[in-house]
Structure formats: C-alpha cells, structure tokens
Assembly symmetry: none
Homo-oligomer: 195 residues x 4
C-alpha cells in the first residue's frame, strides 16, 4: 500500500494521526493537523504517503491486520464454535478498548459505505467471513442454533459488538472490555427472551 516501506519510528508517530481523524473526520482533518499531531512535517508525510487518503487507508489497514490476526488465532483455538465466537466478540471489544480512535474512524468509514473499497473488503476478510464460517461450524457441532443467513447474522454481531463498544466510549469515556463483553455475549448467546 505504501510505495516506500515505512521506517519504524515513523510508523509509530503516524499512528497518532487516528486521534485527529476520529475527532474531526477525514475531510475535516487537515494535513496540517496530521503533521502537528504526529510531529512529522507535512512534506515528509507526502514523501512517504501518496496523500491524505493513503494515510487513512494505512491506519485502518493496520487496525484490521491486528483484528484479523486475533480472529484467526481464536478461530483456530480449541472449544465449541460458540465458545470461540464468544472469544472473538470479547477480543474485538479488547481491540476497541485498546484503540478506540481507530475503531471510531473505521465505523465512520463503514457507514460511508466503503469510501475505500479495500477497507470494506478487509472488514469482511477480518471479521465477517470468519464469523460466518464459525456460525456454520457451530450448527455442525451443535453449539449454535438454526439461523438462516450466516452473512447477515455476522453483520448483526459485528454491529452489536461495535456499537456497544462505541456507546461505552462515548457515554462513559472509557470501555471496560470485560463488562461490555459480558453484556454483548449474554445478549448474543441467550437472546433477550426470558427462558
């Protein structure tokens, strides 16, 4: 995605840009802002990135790589499909707690329906697809009940998790991944209906 391989010290500084994007949105964030927050001169940013969009793209890709790694690890772990799905939900919330700004930026981008098509694809790859496969596995191993549309269900799960995390961040200024996980996992596994 980057033409030149990004030198490691720069990588860390550029990560600081998510805060700006999260607060002011992509178009509302000026390169000047990115330069200020990261401490990297504007011209240097342009030396390493093709433009503002590529910086955003790089940031989101970096986040999604982390999510994908975690998801992949958990998918391959032992346990029933439902147990592994629970673990994935909790992991996603941990990522949100660790990198809340990046997640906000990502959601904004999703809602704009894939400004950067690669990102839309990457979300599918990183979360939706593995979860959909897990749902199928779950029906096979008997841990998950009969649902009709795995793709749509995984989107619903993604929404429940993400918006819960976001809501905590916005409403309470912080995200307790454990507590939020209990709620979401509770809702998703047992449902609302009284037993």
């Amino acid at each position: 995605m980057t033409l030149r391989p990004l030198p490691s010290p720069l990588r860390e500084r550029v990560e600081l840009a998510v805060a700006a994007f999260a607060e002011k949105g992509f178009e509302g964030t000026r390169m000047e802002d990115v330069a200020e927050v990261t401490g990297v001169p504007k011209a240097t940013l342009y030396y390493h990135f093709q433009g503002k969009e590529q910086i955003l793209s790089w940031l989101l890709a970096s986040l999604l790589r982390d999510v994908a790694d975690e998801v992949q690890r958990l998918v391959a772990s032992p346990g029933t499909a439902l147990e592994r799905l629970e673990a994935i939900v909790r992991a996603q919330l941990r990522v949100m707690a660790a990198r809340p700004d990046a997640c906000r930026v990502l959601l904004a981008d999703v809602s704009r329906a894939g400004r950067i098509p690669e990102i839309a694809a990457a979300i599918g790859e990183a979360f939706l697809l593995p979860v959909a496969r897990l749902l199928a596995e779950g029906r096979a191993d008997g841990s998950i009940g009969g649902l009709v549309d795995d793709e749509a269900t995984s989107a619903a799960i993604y929404g429940a998790v993400t918006v819960t995390g976001l809501h905590h961040l916005v409403a309470h200024q912080e995200l307790d991944a454990g507590r939020a996980g209990d709620i979401v996992v509770g809702l998703l596994t047992r449902g609302l209906r009284a037993p």
Copy 2:
C-alpha cells in the same frame, strides 16, 4: 432549528441533499453539490439555513423525528414488551429501507461521536431510551430475561439492527426489511445458542 419555517416545496428538495452527504461525507460535500442535487441556488440555501452544518442537522433531525414517532407509537401499542421491542426493531429497519442515505449519514455522525451534540442526544431520546425502558418493562412482565445493563443492551440492539441494515444495503444494493427483520429479531430474541 431553522430560523424561518421552511416552505414546504423547499423542504422536499433539501431532503435530496442526504444522498450527497451519504456518498461523500459532510466535509466532502460542497454547498455547490447541495445546490446541484436540490436544484436550489447556493445563495437561497443560505437564505433559509444558517450554514452547511445546519442543513445536515435539519436532515438528521427530520429522520430522527420520524424514528421517534414510530418508536413512541409502538412502545404504546398492546402486547408484551418483547413483542413491542420486536416491532420497534422491524420498524427501524423499515425506516432504513425507506431512507437509507439518511441512515448512513446518521451512523457516520454517531461514530464521529456527536459532531452535533443535539443529534447524539436525539438518538438517545428516539431509540436508546425507549428501548431501555422496554427492557425494564420486559423483565417486569416476564417476557425478557435477566440482563444487567439496559442502556448497554439497547446500544447493542441498535448496533445489530443498524449494521445489519447497512450491510444489506451495501452488499445487496437493497434492503428487504422483512427478511432482515427476521434475522435480527431471531438473533436478538433466541440468541445464537442451540436450544
């Protein structure tokens, strides 16, 4: 919110601006664009609105008023709390099907965590709060099981509904509110776990 009460023919034309906001984001949409899609000259828009932000604000408020009305109507309808909540979920998806662009804009704004604080409050008022109240009612009337945090749960429900709708719109170019409703309602009421 508007200084002058909007003349009715203008109101309808301005609604057309959501498409632009949905596609290009708030900052990415120029007043010129709004003027073009609505057919209302730029200067005339400034005669009726205070600025670009106020147009967005007016558009979202219009959507949220509709959602709130629907929710309020359904909250007061007969049936168990769970049944009414199901109806609300389905209603929200119908709104998304009817006004997909406005919903996309709204979600983008939420993720930017309340660019316009009034909007964040309005979402709470229109959806989260009534749903949270319904959850409490549900525990009282025995239709909804024991959940710990009504506020967080209603956020999770909002996320599940919204992202499912969005996913359908993006992935399948259209949203069948009935089918999507079945999936979300199924997930939310019975949960994933096999009986």
Copy 3:
C-alpha cells in the same frame, strides 16, 4: 473560451497581466502576481477563468484577434500584393510597438511550439496563411518574384518581423515601428544583394 462572458471592466484589468507573463514567463508567474498586477482577487480570477492557462490563452487570443483584424483589413486594401504585404509587415510592427509584452509572451509560446494548440493554429490563421495567400497573389500580379514555398516563406517573414521588433524592444527599450518597418521591408523586398 471563457465560460462566463467577461465583464468589460475586468477585461481591461486582466490585460495588465501580460506584463507579468512577459517578465517572468508563464510558469514563473504566480496567480498571486496576476492578482496583484490586475487588482483582481485570486478567487475572482478563478471565478471567471478556469485556471492560469486559460488566462494566458485569453490574453493571446485577444492579441491575435487584433492582429488578424488588421491583417484582414490590409489584405483587402487596394494595391499590388507586395505593397499590401509591406503594409502588413508594418502593421505587425505597430502592434508590437503598441503591445510589446503580449508579443513577447506570444513568441515565447510559439517557441514552446504550441503549449496551447489553439494558439499555434490562431497564429497560422491570423498571419501565416493570409501572408502565404498574398505571396501567391503577388506571383500572379507580377509584384512578387518566384519563390518555392509560400508557407515557409511566410514563416520566415514572420520571424524577421517579430525578432526585429523584439530586438529593438530589448536592445533599445522601445520600438520605433516606422524605422524598424523600413529596415525589415527593405530587407524583405530588395534582399541583401547589391543591385
């Protein structure tokens, strides 16, 4: 060439920009400079012109329209072809004396061999073609001797006239169209060879 018809007061002010282009070249002249020299704000220039190139284009077109008018008038005047050609040469030098900067800009552009193809075509239309036709007429009416290539000859005439004018302007800071005309006409009609 211009989208909006240029208001007359603006037209005169924009003419002042040729001085800047003549002194610093096209690329060396910043829009800021044009704004300063003309007294028209940058944004206003962009409101009326598509960009810097279009301003140059408009300026050169304006000059060439004048040249073309003069040439056309003289071509149709009475006298032998040679007499009329002499008149055209002298007229061209008068235009250079009147609008030296525009002529310098035009010549720079020619050497860049039609950065703006329309301009290259317009020079042909305004000068080269009428002169070439006059050469043919001259052979017919017996006033002009047997030359082989009218197109090339008219280019040579254009060069002799233009560079002489330019040389006077640069070397003597001013152009006496009468004196310069005598020299060029003398050279072009009788040639260098002693009788």
Copy 4:
C-alpha cells in the same frame, strides 16, 4: 560556469535534459524530470550544478559555443561577404536540425528577453555581432546592398532563419536544412520583389 569541471559521461547525460526543457518550459520542468531523463539522481545534479537555472544556462551555453565556433569558422572562410553570410544562415539551420530542442529552449529564452543576461549577450556574440560585421564587410566588398542598420538587419536575419527552422520542426516534425536554407537564403538575398 560550472564549479567542478563536468565529468564527460555526465555531460552527455545532462544534454538529454534539453528535451524536457523544450517540451515543458523551464519552470514547468522539475528537477525530478531532469533526473529522470538524464538518469542522474537529483542530489548528484546538485553536486555538480548550483541549481536548475545553472543547468539551463550550461545547456544553452553549450549550444551557443557550437554556433559561435561554426560562425567564426565561416566568417573567416574565403568568398564574398554575402557568400559567407549565406553559409552562416545554412549553418545555423543545420545546427537547428541537429539540436532542435536546444534551439527551441534558446528561442523561448530570448523572447523572455534575457532571463539569463549572459545568454542574451552570448547570442549577440555568437550570431548577431559577426553577422553585423559581415554586413559592413559586404557593403565594402560590394556584395551587399546599402542597408541602414546592421544591428537591426542581423536581428531580422536571425529571426527569419530561426522561425523558419522552428516552423518546419513544428509543422513538418522535421527540418530539412538544405531546403529550408534555399528558401531563407533566396528570400534574404534576392528579396520578394520580382526582378
């Protein structure tokens, strides 16, 4: 002009830069472009030249040295002044045929009337002055008729030659120095007037 004497292999590669200057103009040509067409890294160019302007200056000086050498040789050759002048005109056209880009760049610069004053002076030294001297000689040896202003006449000759060459290059994509020479020499010696 150069601080360090240019290593011979570099000299040849830098010559390739004229193509870029000819096509895009001085300001329109980026050092990056020069680096690309010459294959010499930007920083290396800066190691050998003081800046972009010095590269242009060096290129034009190189051309003018060649022209001056040729002219000097021909001025000193046997024959009447008119014959030697004819030879110079033809030689200049041969140079244009051999190095068309450099000539285009030179002419662009002339019209900008001595962006680099040394260049304006060098043209005088290389062409105008020797030709003016030849005109005087020609009047003395009886081969050239009575003209009033040798300086202005040499400028006119320069213009006729140069623009004819340029016209051929632009209009016909190539310059046949022999044919073009016949036309220009015919015009300059015998004039247009029918005998």
